[in-house]
Amino acid sequence: MAYVFFGYFAGVIALTAVLVVALRNPVYSALSLLVMFFHVAGLYVTLHAEFLFAVQLMVYAGAILIFYLFAVMFLTEKTPDRYHIQSRGSLLIGGAIIVEIAVLAGQHGVSFGSTVERTASSSPSEAGNTEAIGQLLYTSYLFPFEVASLILLVAMIGSIVLSKKDLSESPPS
């Protein structure tokens, strides 16, 4: 049963991930990204990570992708072609990445099934997934957590400085 669900979610994720870059209409690309986020969230449910499921939907599907759509909707359907021009260099990079994936897969052997079972058995689903994440986040991983929040704060200030161009020009009131 678990394999059926995993196969379904993984298949749809792979398909929609390809569609995101393959589709011509940017709105359709964003929508297939939405479907992909949904199925990634579904994968979290099969791993008993319900908290991550909700956060995945809320943050990625509910906030970030809506801002993507926001921007994409201003591009008219008639002139999307200049967004699809790709340089020759990307072929080289893509080829290198494919070779790397092949090498890695060859080294580890294709063993998706065993990975799924290992993570599923070690997940603390009995104690409550949210409590477990909270405990880990605020004890063992407190320092990385605070560093991440500091980085996000810098990003926030940076985006305000970049978007408000008249910030330095305006006289101090």
Binding site: L57, M58, A63, I66, F70, N129, T130
Partner: protein, 358 residues
């Protein structure tokens, strides 16, 4: 396998009962809204169909059902059809984790079922927030697919508005989560039993009354209701994102908006006002010797609280003028957000001190 089949059958029954109740509530609301608005403005409201206009919702439903289904020229047909569904599904899916009555367990055919909640998952409220945030897709895509500038502007406004106010909804709930230590709505309501002084809005050590106010204002904005109905401001945008919609598709948007109202009212009463708990300890029916029927009293209390919030929605609509767009954004980010954040800080300090004193 029969056990699985039985469980599926029971769950499907629960789902259809709850969807039925929600749809009936929405029908009632469409009438109640016009009646309440009418009385507040010293007029009668709908009076023609049925006694005192009581059959008006059915007349509206039949009218919408038989209206011509128009797809505007140049519209994206696929998304134009998908958008109302994308708005409707998130509005209904959240009801799965709402506890409608006491946390009972009934034995049925060897299975223990919880009759008043479809699924008591341990991330309850996060699940509702996650799907509520997806409701914006229906509105944005509906606006974009209509190939009309008014629809597009309405959709864009609604996207910005929903994202801004969603944050306040999430933050206003955090205080309740700190108090009850759980994300499951069943746990949260169970913890508020035994009198209104135990409800999260009034409880010791940190009454969440400010959080309740922030929550209610933010949900009014999130459901695009007056005074935050800028996505459908008729004086500026005709009808906003559903300008081009007619017939059944329009009905779907309408249904989604009202189902969202019911959902946020249910969450408000479950999170802040004790859910199905009566404002006095225990229940009256168990006092007079009918403890097996106490769930009727409890569900009635839940319905009463939910309908009070819905009445508040109508009341606001009759009272307040629409905000300007910059006022809306400034209010959300500079007034509600600091209140919600301060509430979290105060609540966590108060809970910590209360735990130390214990």
């Amino acid at each position: 396998m029969t056990e699985l089949g039985l469980r599926v059958a029971i769950t499907l029954t629960q789902i259809s009962v709850i969807v039925g109740i929600v749809i009936i509530t929405v029908l009632l609301l469409t009438l109640a809204e016009r009646k309440v608005l009418g009385w507040m403005q010293d007029r009668m409201g709908p009076m023609e169909v049925g006694p005192y206009g009581s059959l008006q919702p059915f007349a509206d439903a039949i009218k919408l059902f038989f209206k011509e289904d128009i797809v505007p020229a140049g519209a994206n047909k696929f998304l134009f059809t998908a958008a109302p569904l994308l708005a409707l599904i998130p509005a209904f899916i959240g009801f799965a984790v709402i506890p409608w009555g006491p946390d009972l367990t009934w034995e049925f055919g060897g299975l223990s079922i919880k009759p008043f909640v479809i699924s008591d998952i341990n991330i309850g409220i996060l699940y509702i927030l996650a799907f509520a945030s997806l409701g914006a897709y229906g509105i944005i895509l509906g606006g974009w697919a209509s190939n009309s500038k008014y629809s597009l502007l309405g959709g864009l406004r609604s996207a910005a508005q929903i994202i801004s106010y969603e944050l306040n909804v999430g933050l206003s709930i955090v205080g309740v989560l700190i108090l009850s230590g759980s994300l499951s709505l069943v746990h949260i309501t169970n913890a508020q039993a035994g009198g209104f002084w135990n409800w999260n809005a009034f409880t010791f050590p940190a009454p969440q009354i400010f959080a309740l106010v922030v929550y209610v204002i933010s949900t009014v904005a999130e459901t695009n209701r007056v005074p935050f109905d800028l996505p459908e401001a008729e004086s500026e945008l005709v009808a906003g994102f559903f300008t081009e919609y007619s017939g059944l598709r329009f009905a779907f948007f309408y249904l989604a908006e009202y189902a969202n109202m019911v959902l946020v009212s249910c969450v408000a009463s479950a999170m802040f006002l004790g859910g199905w708990n009566a404002p006095y300890p225990g229940t009256l029916l168990s006092l007079i010797g009918l403890p097996s029927l106490a769930w009727i009293e409890n569900t009635m209390w839940f319905a009463f609280k939910t309908y009070s919030f819905l009445f508040l929605f109508f009341w606001l609509r009759a009272t307040l003028p629409r905000l300007r767009y910059d006022q809306l954004m400034r209010f959300g980010w500079k007034v509600l957000l600091p209140i919600a954040l301060a509430n979290i800080v105060v609540t966590s300090i108060a809970v910590f001190i209360a735990q130390q004193l214990k």
